[in-house]
Symmetry: C2
Subunit: 769 residues, 2 copies
Amino acid sequence: MDLKNNLRTETGWEVIEKSFDPAQVVTTGSNFMIGNGYLGYRGTFEDWGPDEYVACIVTDTWDQAEGSSMSELCNVPNGLYTALRVDGEPCSLNPASIRDYRHQLDLRYGVNTRSVVWEGQNGQKIAWESRKFASSHNPHLLVQRYRFKALANGVVELKTGISGDVWSLGGEHFSQCIPLEFANGLLALSLETRETGISIAVVEGIRLEGKTPEKVWTSTEGKSIFRIFRFRMEAGEDVVFEKVVGITHSNEVEEPLRSAREEVSDALDQGYEALWTAHSKPWEAFWDGADLQIEGDPEAQVLARFNLYQSYIATPTHANLPVGARGLSCQVYQGAAFWDQETYNLPMFAFTHQEIAHRLVAYRYDTLDGARRKARKLGYYGAFYAWTSGKTGDELFPDFFFTDVLTGRPIRNHFNCWQIHISPDVVYGIWLYYQASGNWEFMLEQGAEVLFEVAQFLVSRVHFKMDKNRYEILRVLGPDEYHENVDNNAYTNYLSQFSLVKACQVFDRMKEEHPGRLAALLEKTGIPARAREDWNDIADRLYLPAPDPETGVIEQFDGYFGLEDIRPDALRKRLIDPGEYWGWPNGIAVHTQVLKQADVIQLLAMLDGFPKEVLTANYEYYEPRTEHGSSLSPSVHALVACKAGHHEEAYRYFLESATIDLYNASKKVMSGGSFLGGIHTAAAGGVWIIIVRGFAGFELTDAGVAFSPALPAHWKTLRFALKVRGCRLEVVLSPNGIRVHGAPENPGKIHIRLPGAQAWVGPGETLGV
Amino acid sequence: MDLKNNLRTETGWEVIEKSFDPAQVVTTGSNFMIGNGYLGYRGTFEDWGPDEYVACIVTDTWDQAEGSSMSELCNVPNGLYTALRVDGEPCSLNPASIRDYRHQLDLRYGVNTRSVVWEGQNGQKIAWESRKFASSHNPHLLVQRYRFKALANGVVELKTGISGDVWSLGGEHFSQCIPLEFANGLLALSLETRETGISIAVVEGIRLEGKTPEKVWTSTEGKSIFRIFRFRMEAGEDVVFEKVVGITHSNEVEEPLRSAREEVSDALDQGYEALWTAHSKPWEAFWDGADLQIEGDPEAQVLARFNLYQSYIATPTHANLPVGARGLSCQVYQGAAFWDQETYNLPMFAFTHQEIAHRLVAYRYDTLDGARRKARKLGYYGAFYAWTSGKTGDELFPDFFFTDVLTGRPIRNHFNCWQIHISPDVVYGIWLYYQASGNWEFMLEQGAEVLFEVAQFLVSRVHFKMDKNRYEILRVLGPDEYHENVDNNAYTNYLSQFSLVKACQVFDRMKEEHPGRLAALLEKTGIPARAREDWNDIADRLYLPAPDPETGVIEQFDGYFGLEDIRPDALRKRLIDPGEYWGWPNGIAVHTQVLKQADVIQLLAMLDGFPKEVLTANYEYYEPRTEHGSSLSPSVHALVACKAGHHEEAYRYFLESATIDLYNASKKVMSGGSFLGGIHTAAAGGVWIIIVRGFAGFELTDAGVAFSPALPAHWKTLRFALKVRGCRLEVVLSPNGIRVHGAPENPGKIHIRLPGAQAWVGPGETLGV
């Protein structure tokens, strides 16, 4: 079927670009990318360079370029560089020279293919096709098969190798870049990062089939190394080569260059088909756990899979590392974890692939010392997690992020010091994983320490207001970043209380069941046992902005209702420059009720227990005031719209969230002077949340699981699987009802509640209504 | 002697403009103004209009013009309007047509005189002179004697009356303006203010002497009414008229028009000489109490008197009304009281004219309900005094004050809600008056109520920080307005503690000596008796940033030392537009240590008890980081420089403070898009503080008074009088020593401490070293 934005799908498992559109180069490069959580390779073409945002972003390579205030992941040299010339004319892509263009992303296995027929200015004609994937079996490898066929006689020059001429957002990262050619024909660039001294190797090898070249030579050009093959070809002749690129670095292996050489040699020996077979198995396992099968809405089907695809390739599965806010699609947001990791990315993994979810929460444990350092640096104690968290958990977010486009002056944003909800959000994520997996040993070994340290941070962060007999949390930003520097932000206060309550619960259970381990943990952390009373006291007396008794609306922060009540479209007219940042300190939204995203909606999407009339009242109040300047916003709106009974709006927000990248619905490639392109990983994660928590109404309760479906009216069926406390559940929804089937291999019974029916469902049993 | 800025003095009692300079029209209009605390009349010329900033500002006429966000005092129609034409040519002032220009302000009696010889384009020649004062006897009256003399034959038209064509900063204030002509020849404009409905009458009458006019007629032009006299004059003939203008309004008298008519008729009957005699007596009394006589430095002499003069004419003595930050020199700062009133203006009156000081503190009592309303509106209780305080004490300062000159957008300044030190400052002023006067009955009747309500406000404003076992004061501005939104501002916290301690002291003395009056006060205010324990607890545990143990420097607010350490001149280079506001939210000083004025220096200038090494360390740290963007800054720097032993700098800052207006040393007529011209009343008050508290080292202690002089090296003598607890002290300092003489009429002894001598000094006795 045809999709928007010059796209179509055939089976719901692929996205096809209908024609070449140079204007969409940023978007298409992101959407058609391949990756494996270790590296991300943008969906760009083999002969492109920095102008077309070619990038191969490798995780765990953080480095700060000279003159930059930001650490970021390296974009490594492009080992898949390949260019053709026919009779001296470069086969450049431009609409006039292209025939039979096809560009496709296969979602099931993460394969990018394209084919082109090209005509030159002097009657040259050639066809080529390439097919590439980032191996899921060995994440260091990019594997490609490339074929070209002369459609007219001519001299064809194939230039292939490693291009070091790469885009880098923050500036040059490589203080060293040595081109190497090895006896067995491999080419390499051996690099070292400027600030962090990481050694990175990019090694490339090819295996050529078909016609023999008339001449072959190697060329070193600047920071690049290429091999050039010259063929004198007749119409109908073709050449095929298999290419393997190996990328390794010293944070992961002892000798990156040697490892990469060995891996590439070995892979070339195995050949494309063997590499493909190994690659395909992890993908099949992924879809077996996570696929969302939708009948009756082919567009929704491909959107769901596209977003699951992007979620998966953005997430490191080989190590405890963060999910970047733009995944590995570019360097934007520093390849680092934000609060999105717990609130948007984690849920899908927590209920489908708990081994991956475990990596994400273990990453937060691994970075606890960074959070402790941040707290101490700012005058607090306990753990204040980084707003922008890389390898160590030290704060990566700079003091000055956006630029005032009207004056050219940097803006002091306070995401790094006032957006304290990140710490409760980490607790929320740990609790979610723990609830889904039932992994109490993880809680004892790692989770409790995080919970206690976050509670301690909150002790050092709150203030007590004597005249009101309550604790308050002052000078924060909630998720709505247009309003910095606010007091008693509803989201922050509720989540903080949640964290304190969970810390007390875990403390109490440990005291009861594992007093020795509790004592050891307190001794290790230096937290006094009486701290638990402080946590409890703060949880009891922390001010939680309640729903207004008349309207049911919760005030987003102290004084919010007193701000100018204007709607986003009217407000937008006040912009002097469309690239202006709307928020702190003097953006157009600051003194108004217009929100980047609605904190109260976010809160209602995450914490259960609010009555439906409160959900409805808040949805109806905040929705018209929300600008959705954040890609995170539509998915929680979809979810709360579901809960509030606004089904059409829920579906509209679902579409909005699911198409932010694919349809290029987020226009903000630039904001406040910063390039913000790339894949919106949180929105991708949000699509699963909307479908499973919203449309299927899935809820994890202390008793078990519950569903209260609100399926879009035109969907015939929705099928998916869930993993809850060791049990696999297969869920099928239709307009007529819902069936939940316990997999035969399940270790025991699980309690299921459906509208009008509930039961303990054992292995191989089904509950339906 | 010659002074700077085109000025000179002859006796130290006058300022003379050496030649007419059209470029100085704003400055000269302010400097040469006359007034009496009820009205201020700028030192402009009789035929000028709004372009030359002619103004007659009348206190207690607050009104908000349509479309303005600010209430301000009215500039009433100009009853002293007079213009001459000779042979049809207006006698306009321009350098080419002026001969023998003289313009003088007599400081002793507040008289503005000028004389001009004017030549026309066709040989016309005429001389005129005018002499005017604002009566100190009847403050409703402006009195003028005007004489012109033909120096060549010609037809002279004299046009005199009331011009309603006036400058108004915030817009039109008069919804009604009725011109009237009365049978006895008086002219009037009867006005009504648009928002507040105040009736204002401006009545004018003249008494003509000398040559009889050939023709007389009345002319109503727009909002003006004039009488025109035509004279056919021969060279040598002259005409003299006396003119009286009466200005009354319905906030003060029942029937303004009738009162003004009667007062003007009566005054014209009395005649100029009688009016002058009555006027001169209050001035003689003022100087008897307040004069600062300096021998050996004629420039300092006239500067001291000029600033005393401006302090006096800015201060309402007829009613309990505020001293405006620009006095009555223009509408800037809304004619309203700021914290300057207590910290800069009050001290001179408290120690020289306690009946005037009493009016100022009684004004704060009268406006207590406004302060209570402000506190309640912002969610506090007790009394939060207005940052900008007019008649009622309700907050007059708008949310948006400055404009971002780079974008044209209004800036949300938080002077009105975060600059809480105003409340402790009011307490400081009340305590100062009480200490100087010993007026315990005032404290019982009025002062205690203010102290208690301010203490209650602080109870509702502070936060307790559990982990640090201390109270904190968050989200404030100190006097340094470049740094809004700071925590634990040293000035604010110390002054708040001062207030709480004084509230406890007064509470305890009342409990001991006047338990019934205490009980009545608590009942009246609804303050529970246990509140005193809260005040005490907060005073005990309020965080006071201490001098750093190594450097002795007190941090201005939390995190100040971490800001960029740059000097004002280097910072200034970052301005894109010279009119930019430097402060909140994104002015160039915000993220730096550069200060508008140094809060710690202000603190050290006000509270005694800091050791000299702390004074020195802080002076030396903060002085180079201070931009002196506030006219208040130089005087406290002079004072603390004295105390810190930096005598040359003390004298330099004295000159700077004393010449801000006279030498037009403050260049900032415009800042952040706002007109800020006019007399800097606080700086005027500061001159007395520098000389008496700095150079003479006067200090009021519990025991009595003390002096530790640091006279500028070239001063031969400094003489002044002080009034302390009923005693008049006459002080004479010279490089050789100091003598303090108790006036014969003193009611008792007073303890005096000098360097190396101390004694109880009785009536007629002298202590000297």
